[in-house]
Amino acid sequence: MADRVGIVAVAQTKFDQKHEEHLTETLVRVTKDVMKQTGLEFKDDGTGIDSTVAASQDYFGGLGGIHLHYAYTVGAYKRPDDRVEEDGALAVAYGAMQVLSGHHDVVLVIGHIKESACSKNQVENLGMDHVYGRKIGLDFVAAAGMQAMRYQHKYGITPEQCAKVVVKNRTNGRNNPLVMYANGITIEDVLNSEMVADPLRALEIKPNPVDGAVAMILASEDKAKKITDKPVWITGMGMCYDHHELGYRDLADCDALVSAAQMAYKMAGIKDPVKELDLAEVSEHCAYQELLWSEGLGFCGKGEGGKLIDKGTTSMGGELPVNPSGGLLSGVPLCVAGIQRVAECVLQLRGEAGGRQVSGAKKALAHGVEGPAGQLHCVITLEK
């Protein structure tokens, strides 16, 4: 029985355009990393790691059930290997729930993907409904384009404000040795880049392909305190579904995120996110999304996302730094994104974030999103 769930170790690979090594070798490497940090092994008698929760995508692996090929590399031989086939943040939430239910005490959560294996927009097109979505060639980037256009029109968000997000995150990314891009860029670079899905320009969209894997170990409160002297506690979790058809909701709002955030804040007892949180790692697959998700998370009022970035609240050194790790725009794969957000928060709260450390960080928020124009959101709050 557990009152709280603690994260006791995290490991990330470098995120690169194409990992030349085989998936199983990457997985063994990150798993052994977290095993070494905690001194735990896979055991059946409750003295080691009890279970594995994975986040991966079959379509990017090219086989019907890639967990059937790799599970033994993450210790799931004669042990559970539950797979959440969506954004990694949902896998972290499920891993935490396995501990809170009392069914397992120590859970390995691992996310991995090889975006370089195939064409992302071909796969995402299969995620649209048969009658309308697929025929017009819709994929998640095109859906984001529509959302960006609606959002910019309704609230007067300007392309410069979106470009500021890219500049901020890519500048932050220079301090993160793990993300793909180590060079900063300017607003002119963004506004001059190629138009991909009006109004989204190439540099405003998360780079693709990027490969990578992230692993972490979750444990019940008593065990977490024994395994490490710097556990990071999960204080709140929330998730919520929105409509699938893009026309059924006003794309300039993100009601699902508001719901998910409220569920997490209620659990964590957070009333004023900007004052109480020290940093936030949100999943911005496109630049405008950071502004929109900030509104949904309660960092500013509706439609004030542009003002938020202009004021500098979300920059490093601002009142609530958003994406000090460089965000997804610096090169992080999808699906792994959610779990990488959580891993970055853990490093920040442990004081191990190197050049991107937010000083004195005590409470953090990680956010993951899945689906076209943010259909499924997941919010996780953590504290030291």
Binding site: E21, H22, V28
Partner: protein
Amino acid sequence: MTTEEQKQEPELLLYQYPRTAHYWHALGYQSAVIEGFKQGRILANKCPKCGRAMVPARTVCPECYVEATEWVDQGQRGKLVAAFKLGYPFYDRRTGEAKIWDKPIVAVELEGGARLDGWCSETDLEKLKPGLLLEAVWRPPEERIGAFDDILHWKPVEE
């Protein structure tokens, strides 16, 4: 049309994707096995802790979770473990067509302990009993591409 009438005449939507999906996969530990096949050898990697030999190669030993980096030649003979024969067409990657195979497929336990699948020259399933001694018959070196069927078939050993 009312909803009831519509439900009686189902409309089906046919989707044809003119594009094919291309996937890029790394080979990893399999490269050693593939090179071995080209040389006419069956290589398996072995766990240093429990000694289990595995082919196709596994990155770690699943029981012990230890990296298995020792490669052992499994020999050219083995005992039959299981056999089956396909009653429907299967794709032949060398000719590019789907055909009915008259050779059954056997799982063979090799001298080194690993087990491998392959085709068998004996087409009568009655004669294929577990424990039957089999020997590998390879394709000529220029035809070997690093695949299971580099071993043309397994032949029962006549003592």
